[in-house]
Each structure stands twice: as structure tokens, then as C-alpha cells.
Amino acid sequence: MANVLLVADHDGRTLNTGIARSVACARELGEVHVAIFHAGADAVCQSAAKLDGVAKVLSVARPENAHAVAAIMAPQLAKLAAGYDYVLAPSTTFGKDVLPRVAALLGVPQVSDLMEVVDARTFRRPTYAGNVLVTVKVPDGIPVLATVRIASFQAVEESGAAPVEAVQVDAELPRHTKYHGLSDPGGGERPDLQSCPRVVAGGRGVGSKENFEIIFRLADKLGAAVGASRAAVDAGYVPNDMQVGQTGKIIAPQLYFAIGISGAIQHMTGIKDAGCIVAINKDGDAPIFEAADFGLVGDLFQILPQLEQELEKAGL
């Protein structure tokens, strides 16, 4: 049986929700080992051990691994990769940052945004902002390196109990790159955009940072995460971590509300795996209506308060 090394994305406290989805892809390929680079994040290792399909968790603890700096992680991952048929990372900003660096150290190509396993060495991936799907084959005789498009896979269950093995990786680490902190993007304790089954997103039509409160209110009512179009982030209405689309987050909620979002192809790329798309926009010709399951043309500032009332009436 082939073996698969999946490198985990985490923040030192919790495992990124994309890992449960990445495991779903990894276990189609072989026996899954999850590598966790950290400096005392044992709870993260335990979370990974619970994921169905994980055979072993490799815990690589050293002080330099306190933050996910690609230049520091890549030499370790390249060493740990020896003997593996597959080395995978989620297609989060962490995985996109570190895995190409590993691929270059190993001298092998990388498949980005793997969305479907066709056979052991053949995969499908999106190009041109998701408008063209391509079948790509990795030549024989080299390990397969790939980032996994997490929105394409369903998260595995958490009923496993894989062993956690402490591993020493003997790699010389550079000192030329230093982590200087993560700014708190604000937004409070709202659900995670990439895993929440409901997302309410606002676009340029919302009009201002203050007006975005109306989006937050509906999201809170629905227990939904909050997203935004690039236009809304560019305009400074909300921070960048809320951006959905080709250059933001690719998500697959069951229910997605696109409010005041016109539906540029770069945005649609980020939501095409959503179960149900609701569009609310005053421009009845906006492209978002071509993809929406339910569209409502009108002024969002009138519609959203009505929607809140209707939800309350329905006891929701």
C-alpha cells in the first residue's frame, strides 16, 4: 500500500478544519500519516489523531516551529518526506506557501489545488479561475506532491484513535526569516468561514464598513460565518481574511447568501461548490443570478430587515 504524508495547518491551538477534508483526499491514495510541526501544540496532535483514516500522527516539536514559516518548515518536511509516495498539504495559505518550497528542494513538480483523484498518479485540478478543469499526470518514479483543494472533499469523521509518534528531524534551519506576529483581524467569535455550513457574504453593494453591520446581523441570526467579495475588502469594509474567491478563500457551505455581490467569475470560483446559493442584488442583470438557486432582486437595506422578521416569524 502506498503511503501518504499530509502536513497539517494549525495555529498552535486548533487544527485547521481543512485537514479533515484533506484526509478524505489522502486516504483515497494510501495509508495516511499526518505531520505536525509545532512547539508544544499537543492538543493539535490529538485532534489529528481522531480523524478517520489517519494511521499515525508524526509530531515534530522544536522551538523554531512555533510559527509556520515556510523557509523553516520546508527543509524539515523535505527530510520527513523521504520514503513517502505522496506528500500533501491543504490548499490554504499555509500549504500554498510551504509545499512548493518542499517540491523545489526535492526537485519534483507539484500539482496545485488537487480537486479529484482519477487514479494513483492522475488528478484533476482547476485552472483559469476554475473555468477550465485539467487532467494532470505525475510521471512515474517520483513522489507526488500536491496541495488539496479542500472545498472539493467532505471532511472525514472524528472517531479514530491513531498513535502520536514524536519524531526528530535532523535538518539545518535558516535564520534569515523571522515571524513578527499576526494582526487580529477582529470580527469576534464568529464561526469559521471555511467550515461553517452557512455563510452570509456582502459585496460592494453594501456600501460601507458601517453598513456591513447588517450582514453581521443576518449572519448571527443564522449562525453563519461572514464572507465578502474582493470589492468589499478592497474598499476596506471588512478585513482580508473574509475574502471569498479565486484569490481569497474557496468555500463549500450548504447555504450561501451573496448580498450586494455582482458575481464576477473570480468570486464564483470561490463558491461553486456551495449547496444552495441565494443572491440578493438590486441589479436584476447581475451575473450572480445565473448561478443562484434563489434570486431576489431589490434593495438589500429593505430586504434584509424583512428577512430577519420572516426568520423570526418562522421561529428561526
Partner: protein, 248 residues
């Protein structure tokens, strides 16, 4: 400090991309080509660094067919000092591109390499990271703010969790994100001036790049279409529809 900027010639972002008849690729005949938008931001950033007096020369380079001279000329018109075309009619994949750029880095010895975070054709998002690995230098990807102090670069990165700051010793590789800047418009006199700026062409085959294994591309196909939805007339109808669908 010299800045080396890598750019890629891609189908213009406003073109609706068509798959060719036999599904082996996309239609490029008669299609408008441009500098990859992220790379244009990289060019702009290099120029701003130079205009602040923090760099002496901006060199722009691409790997591509002879026609990619157009995109280099555009970058020269924006204000780059000189250009290098590493000519190849083959599809040069990311690792090969990174190894090729490494040859240029060895020759030019830049203090900074700027690249777009990804090209909007293959969306691979790899070359900058791969170059940094081969060069054994720092990388900061997805950068939306960049400045220099005490000989180091300070880069703010757009990551999933928010904005992360890295301090990198120079030389370093920086890949840029959309919100770093807004590229300038090119003016007519600058286009004329750019025609006289140096543009060197080097056949890729003469560089002695050790070519890595290649991914083989098969069928190109459109994504499955979402079934057309309906427009509802009222908020009540919307809530009713969502309940019937089991969404609420």
C-alpha cells in the same frame, strides 16, 4: 540594490477563456494577451521602491515566446530600466521556470526578486516559493505591504487568519497580492521611450538549466454548470423556498 521582477504573458483577465476543439488546451489565436495582473503589481512595487530611492535598477524578465517582448515593453514603459526575454516556445512549468530564473539571479545578483503570487492561467502559485528554495533565501508570499529598514525587508502577508508580518534578510523573494498597490497607467511618451530601452533575448536552451520531470496535461474541460435557479418575488417566497429545500 537591483530588483529583478519576473512577469508572465497570459491571456488577458477580461477574456472569456475558450477550450479548444480537441480539449488539449485553450484557444489563444487572436486572443488579447497581457502581463499577468499580479506580476504587473510586482513591477509597480519595484518602481515605487526605486522611486523612493531604495533601489538603483529595475530589471524585468520573462520566460516565453518571442511575442512576450510585448509584455516586457509594457513593463519598460511603466518604468523598468531593462528587460530580459528568456525565449522558449515550450510550456515551461513552475519548477523549470524557477530553475531558469535562478540562472538569471546568479548573473544579476539582485537584492530583491518580486513576482506575482500566481499566474491567472495555470493558477499554480509555485514559482516564487521554488526560486526561494533553490536560492536558499527567505520568501514572503501573498504580500500586501512591503517596506525596508536596517537592510531587511518587512512584509505583511495576506494569510487565511489575517495579516502576518515577516522580517526577511535580503536578498529575498517576495510574491505580491492584489492589495499591495494599483499599477500605474502607461502614457504614450513612455511607450515611445520604452522602445529605446535595452531588451536582451536569451534562448532558454543556452542557459544549461537542468530540466526537472514534467507534469503531463491531459483533457481540458469546462466545469459542470450549476443548474439554473429561479427568481423569487418576495422575502416570504424566499424563506418558503429555503425551508422546502431543507436549508432553514
Amino acid at each position: 540594490m537591483k530588483i529583478l521582477v519576473g512577469i508572465k504573458r497570459v491571456i488577458d483577465s477580461n477574456v472569456r477563456v475558450q477550450i479548444n476543439r480537441d480539449g488539449t488546451g485553450v484557444v489563444t489565436d487572436g486572443v488579447k494577451m497581457s502581463i499577468n495582473p499580479f506580476d504587473e503589481i510586482a513591477v509597480e512595487e519595484a518602481l515605487r521602491i526605486k522611486e523612493r530611492g531604495e533601489a538603483g535598477e529595475v530589471i524585468v524578465a520573462t520566460i516565453g515566446p518571442g511575442a512576450a517582448q510585448q509584455q516586457l515593453r509594457t513593463a519598460l514603459a511603466m518604468g523598468a530600466d531593462r528587460a530580459v526575454l528568456i525565449e522558449s516556445d515550450e510550456d515551461v512549468q513552475p519548477l523549470a521556470a524557477a530553475r531558469t530564473f535562478m540562472k538569471l539571479v546568479e548573473k544579476e545578483d539582485p537584492g530583491l526578486v518580486l513576482l506575482g503570487k500566481q499566474a491567472i492561467d495555470d493558477d499554480s502559485n509555485q514559482v516564487g516559493q521554488m526560486l526561494a528554495a533553490i536560492w536558499d533565501r527567505p520568501q514572503a508570499t501573498f504580500v500586501s505591504r512591503l517596506h525596508f529598514a536596517d537592510g531587511n525587508g518587512r512584509a505583511v502577508r495576506e494569510v487565511d487568519a489575517g495579516l502576518e508580518t515577516l522580517e526577511v534578510e535580503l536578498p529575498a523573494v517576495i510574491t505580491v497580492d492584489l492589495r499591495l498597490n494599483e499599477p500605474r497607467f502607461v502614457k504614450m511618451p513612455d511607450i515611445m521611450k520604452a522602445k529605446r530601452k535595452p531588451l536582451e533575448t536569451v534562448p532558454l536552451a543556452t542557459l544549461g538549466v537542468d530540466m526537472p520531470p514534467r507534469l503531463e496535461f491531459g483533457r481540458h474541460e469546462p466545469p459542470p454548470k450549476r443548474a439554473a435557479g429561479i427568481k423569487v418575488e418576495s422575502v416570504e417566497a424566499l424563506v418558503k423556498s429555503l425551508r422546502e429545500r431543507g436549508m432553514l
